[in-house]
Amino acid sequence: MSDLFSELFLGALLFGAMTAAVPLLLAGLGEQISEKAGVLNIGIEGMMIFGAYTGFVGAYYSGSLWFGFLTGALGGAVVASIMVLLCVRIGLNQIVIGIGLTLGFDGLTALLHHFQFSRTYPRLAAAEITAIPLLSDIPVIGPAFFRHHLLVYLAVLLVGVMVYVYRRTQLGLNLQAAGDKPAALDVAGVDVVRTRTVAVLSTGVLAGLGGAYLADVGAGIFVPFITNGAGFLGIVLAMLARGRPLWVLLGALVFGLCLSLTTALQVAGINIPTDVIQMIPFLAVMAMLVIFGRRSQLPAALGIPYVRGAR
């Protein structure tokens, strides 16, 4: 117990929290875009798992992490384009298709993994770390937050970019209108379907990237069902954040900390079953929903396909 609060333990805990937070952050930011535009993207778990698979395959065969991130993002976009076609273009039920995509790609990636990797279980080399000068020398905080793969900093920067997009650009306004009052957007001469298409594809890219990071950097390996509900956590983050990217970052860090605590406590030799600790993030969500429930407002047209001229 005495070394529970040692510098080393705390550093490892926070480093793990940041590593675990990045996929959640990317998924949450991605889901936020879709939700803003009025598409409840339950398929994000499927986008993430396919991104994790394609990201791992890309990185494994090319030997380049960045190529893996690229293929991961493309994998997510592929799943997203199915969602676009079925839910945005022809207006099928978003929840049904979302669940279908999640089930289907969970199964597909597990199947592909079985035929491809289940005998060898290949691993990737540890990811290259970019230390930020000066900041990375701060004790505890430095190694925890400023010695990560470059993508981690880019993901955090994306929070700022999204704030800018939502607040200052026409695209941000269009996204919001597509979720709150699509008919008004249509009257203003902007194509609702196209706006939502852009939104869902962006979600796919970000979710795929998150999945790829999870497999390539976080775990270094792809195993079936590796995302284990991370996409669903992304949905929760987006919902709790009520359209604010910064809140997604905060939420992702809290969840990351809970996930990191699982491994850290075991390393520290505290004997609590992993199942108990695995419950913490979900308990945290439920607690937050109970406390902030009433205020978690969602876009008015969330989940409703847009059909021009329909009442």
């Binding site: 298709i97 199964g107 079985h114």
Partner: protein, 364 residues
């Protein structure tokens, strides 16, 4: 249907289907069977790409899941929990409540049944023990849905998120209970005590089919009739179709919402109970068949119709029993069933859309 079709065409068509009602049924059947076949073909292409002969695989699955005597008995037994889950989902979905937490409710009920069953069986007649364990499981599942129910009914919090979270929580909690609280000290594998075979739900006649099947069939038919033939069902459907209209017409929407959650979760709990009290006898650590998620597409495919759901549950049951067997013998993991279900769901949704467009364009 358009009225202005030529009389000649009418007589030609009437050979296929005599009355408009009959024609509707045939239309529905074609619209269902066609896409299922198309989906099987599509999934077959995937098998081909993986180097597996699709015809051999499907043949094996149908043989093991439907045609062989032991296979069909297993399939019918497997249907019991799936039917309960489907009926729970039908109640919720018809009332416009997306209970995606069936798996958590199922697992906690299963653990309850596994803990209570052997305990009661030791101190009272077996039939009473089974009944009590069953009721306790149902109550536990209902309780597990209470927080999402309250949040939805009185705070308007989206139940998709809360029930999903409760499922993740429930899966972990079930594991904790199995590993720490109800652990059978007599075995080396972490699992609960086992309910002796003679104390379980009786089997049907001379077969190995659990009588849970009958209970499941009763449940889904009852749910179908309640939802379509009673004023309570009508009220729930109004809430589902248009919650605002339901409020304005004076329905007690929050209270109806609570009732829907209790019914839906209770039926999911009954699924867990029949699976443990009829088939498994105990719960092993990390056991999670995730039936709930697999049943959701079936319920959609059945368009929330109880009788159609029975057919789709049979299909899922054949696929999963046959698929489990094929996983052992042909080396194709059972995950393929998930892919197949997803493809069926998507192809059917597209077919429905095309059909809808076709009818509309004929009307226009």
């Amino acid at each position: 249907m358009s009225v202005d079709t030529a009389p000649v065409e009418m007589t030609e068509r009437s050979i296929v289907a005599r009355s408009p009602g009959m024609r509707k049924v045939v239309h529905r059947l074609v619209l269902t069977v066609g896409p299922v076949l198309a989906a099987l073909a599509l999934a077959g292409l995937l098998l081909l790409a993986l180097g597996v002969d699709p015809l051999a695989y499907y043949g094996y699955v149908i043989n093991r899941g439907l045609l062989s005597p032991s296979g069909i008995q297993q399939t019918l037994t497997r249907m019991a929990p799936l039917l309960f889950l489907a009926s729970g989902l039908i109640v919720a979905f018809r009332a416009g409540i997306w209970n995606l937490g069936a798996d958590g409710q199922f697992l906690l009920a299963a653990v309850t049944a596994a803990a209570a069953g052997p305990y009661f069986a030791a101190i009272m007649p077996a039939w009473l023990a089974v009944v009590l364990a069953f009721l306790m499981s149902v109550l536990v599942a209902m309780a597990w849905s209470f927080v999402p129910a309250l949040l939805r009914a009185y705070q308007g919090v989206n139940e998709i998120i809360t029930t999903l979270m409760m499922t993740f929580l429930g899966t972990s909690l079930a594991n904790v209970l199995v590993k720490l609280v109800f652990l059978d000290p007599g075995t080396t594998v972490p699992q609960t005590r086992t309910l002796p075979v003679e104390d379980r739900l009786p089997r049907l006649f001379d077969t190995t089919i659990s009588s849970g099947l009958v209970l499941g069939l009763i449940a889904i038919v009852a749910v179908h009739l309640v939802m379509t033939r009673t004023s309570f069902g009508l009220r729930l459907r109004i809430v589902g179709a248009n919650p605002r209209a339901a409020v304005h017409s004076g329905l007690a929407v929050p209270r109806l919402t609570l009732a829907v959650f209790a019914l839906s979760a209770g039926l999911a709990g009954a699924a867990g109970a029949v699976d443990i009290l009829g088939v498994q006898g105990n719960v092993r650590a990390d056991w999670n068949p995730a039936y709930g998620f697999a049943v959701i597409p079936m319920v959609f495919l059945a368009r929330f119709n109880g009788f159609a759901a029975i057919a789709f549950v049979l299909l899922l049951s054949v696929l999963s029993i046959g698929g489990e067997s094929a996983a052992r013998r042909l080396g194709v993991p059972n995950h393929f069933t998930l892919v197949l279900v997803a493809i069926v769901l998507i192809v059917l949704a597209i077919a429905e859309y095309i059909d809808h467009r076709f009818i509309q364009s004929r009307k226009a």
